[in-house]
């Protein structure tokens, strides 16, 4: 599974890039693999890059939203980056509940977003 979806680490952030056609089993595999990796490596943030996906069905969208929730529970922040215009329209039309999901245009802005989220999070308890 890790061969199919490589997880890169940049500083304390994990970067997963999803490509091509994803079937349900693969998506579930990514879900499990990614959450265990975040816990194992103690990553502060995770970026899921979907710019390589031209089609995202409601199942994939739901799983992505789920993964983000799981990662947050693990004490890390997660964002989805690179959603294509057509995919964004489809997701809105499908009514997939992705509100509250952190998104960014690309990996670079995603990094900045994670950074912002972490500083907000650390400031809040004060």
């Amino acid at each position: 599974m890790s061969d199919m979806v490589p997880i890169m680490q940049v500083g304390d952030t994990l970067l997963v890039s999803l490509q091509g056609d994803l079937d349900d089993a693969t998506v579930i595999g990514i879900e499990e693999h990614l959450t265990s990796e975040v816990a194992r490596r103690g990553a502060a943030g995770t970026l899921i890059d979907v710019s390589g996906l031209t089609v995202v069905d409601s199942f994939i969208a739901r799983v992505l939203a789920r993964v983000v929730g799981m990662i947050r529970l693990l004490g890390s922040e997660a964002a989805i980056v690179g959603i294509q215009p057509a995919v964004a329209i489809t997701l809105v039309e499908l009514g997939v509940p992705m509100a509250g999901l952190n998104t960014a245009l690309n990996a670079e802005q995603g990094m900045a977003l994670l950074r912002r989220l972490r500083s907000d999070g650390s400031r809040r308890p004060d």
């Binding site: 329209i89 245009l105 690309n106 670079e108 995603g110 900045a112 977003l113 950074r115």
Partner: protein, 405 residues
């Protein structure tokens, strides 16, 4: 030797009966000519038609009844010659009455032969067909004066009549078209199906446009195709029903339609402009009523621009939108949601008081959408947001650099 016995002998009851019969045919000039073409017998129909009593014309040449110009051209002799050779001749032409008035005549001339085959005279039957000729001329005049190309086609697909406009439209002369299958004017890729359509028309002939809703094409002599509009109507004739096809070159109309479509697209484009007002900031000034088609186009155009400019903040200025009802609000919300999914934040500006009232009264939830009163304020907020993000990115880059270095 000639047609009528003149020796005073009683011709017998049979011949008397025949004479009575000839005289009874009052509408027909039925005369005999001798071998040289002089009048040998004269019936009452001949007198009625041409105005001469028998005494004035017996022994006179038949050319007396032709027009002077035809006489000069040798037409009387030519007609007799052709009747002699073929045995029978049907012809039409002008004839002149005693009073000088002329009429259009249908003439049948038959040669009378002796047992040895020599021609001893002619029988000639003449009828006044001026009325028919007049009707014929009117019909052809009508056909020629029609603004459209006209074809008259028989049930088996043969072209029977064409007008000048059809000659010009298709590039064939009428002689080349007459008698040919009408399918020669149909582009090859439709040709096979055409006879079936033709049969359908003749099975229940009525006025109708051909191929309603389809884009029809015609085939010119030089092989080029062109768009046509065709209307069909049935024409009842003695020989059965004919199809009258009025064909119009639709090139100009199709081009006009295309231009219109193009213009509509352009207006649509103009009505949903996306402007880059600052680095990473896009503005979308909305003007006019938002319907589903416009809203869909707007969303699509905006998201593409976000990807293109890597925009982080978009400003939706609704000061030009007359009313915001539930539907328009839904459209706006979807646009904002899709932009958010791509990672761009949205600011709405220019909400009028009445619009604000309507939105609240309708219970429309605009969610986390930030709003500002004017476009100016919205731009200020946008710049602030971009700077914040840049600051965070700078810090993140510093941390990343520090972490690896």
């Amino acid at each position: 030797m000639a047609g009528m016995p003149d020796d005073g002998q009683d011709p017998g009851p049979r011949l008397r009966g025949l004479e009575a019969l000839l005289d009874a045919a009052a509408d027909y000039e039925i005369i005999n000519l001798d071998a040289d073409g002089n009048v040998a017998s004269w019936n009452s129909g001949a007198q009625a038609l041409l105005g001469y009593p028998a005494a004035e014309v017996i022994g006179k040449p038949v050319s007396l009844f032709y027009e002077a110009s035809d006489r000069a051209a040798g037409l009387p002799e030519e007609d007799l010659g052709r009747a002699r050779e073929a045995g029978r001749l049907e012809a039409e032409g002008w004839r002149v009455r005693k009073d000088g008035r002329r009429f259009w005549a249908s003439v049948i001339t038959a040669a009378i032969r002796a047992d040895d085959g020599t021609v001893t005279g002619y029988a000639r039957v003449t009828r006044d067909v001026s009325d028919r000729r007049q009707a014929d001329l009117m019909f052809r005049g009508l056909l020629e004066s029609a603004p459209d190309a006209m074809l008259i086609v028989a049930a088996d697909g043969r072209i029977e009549l064409v007008n000048r406009q059809a000659e010009e439209l298709f590039g064939y002369s009428r002689d080349e078209l007459a008698g040919q299958q009408v399918e020669m004017l149909v582009p090859p890729r439709f040709r096979q199906r055409h006879p079936g359509y033709r049969e359908t028309f003749f099975a229940a002939a009525r006025n109708r446009p051909m191929g309603a809703g389809l884009e029809l094409s015609g085939l010119r002599r030089d092989g080029t195709e062109f768009p046509v509009e065709i209307s069909l109507s049935p024409l009842e004739t003695d020989q059965g029903i004919r199809a009258v096809a009025a064909i119009r070159d639709a090139t100009e109309r199709r081009e006009q339609e295309q231009r219109l479509r193009h213009q509509r697209d352009e207006i649509m484009e103009l009505s949903t402009p996306v402007i880059q007002v600052w680095d990473k900031v896009l503005a979308l000034p909305l003007i006019g009523t938002l319907d589903s088609a416009r809203a869909a186009r707007l969303t699509e155009g905006l998201l593409e621009k976000i990807a293109e400019h890597q925009a982080e903040v978009i400003i939706l200025d609704v000061s030009g939108v007359p009313t915001i009802d539930t539907q328009v609000a839904q459209h706006l919300l979807r646009t904002v949601q899709a932009a958010t999914l791509m990672g761009a934040a949205s600011i709405m500006s220019g909400v009028r008081p009445e619009t604000a009232q309507a939105i609240v009264h309708l219970g429309i939830d605009l969610g986390r959408l930030r709003t500002r009163n004017t476009l100016r304020d919205a731009l200020q907020l946008a710049l602030l947001m971009v700077r914040e993000r840049e600051g965070a990115a700078g810090a993140a880059a510093a941390v990343a650099a520090g972490g690896t270095g």
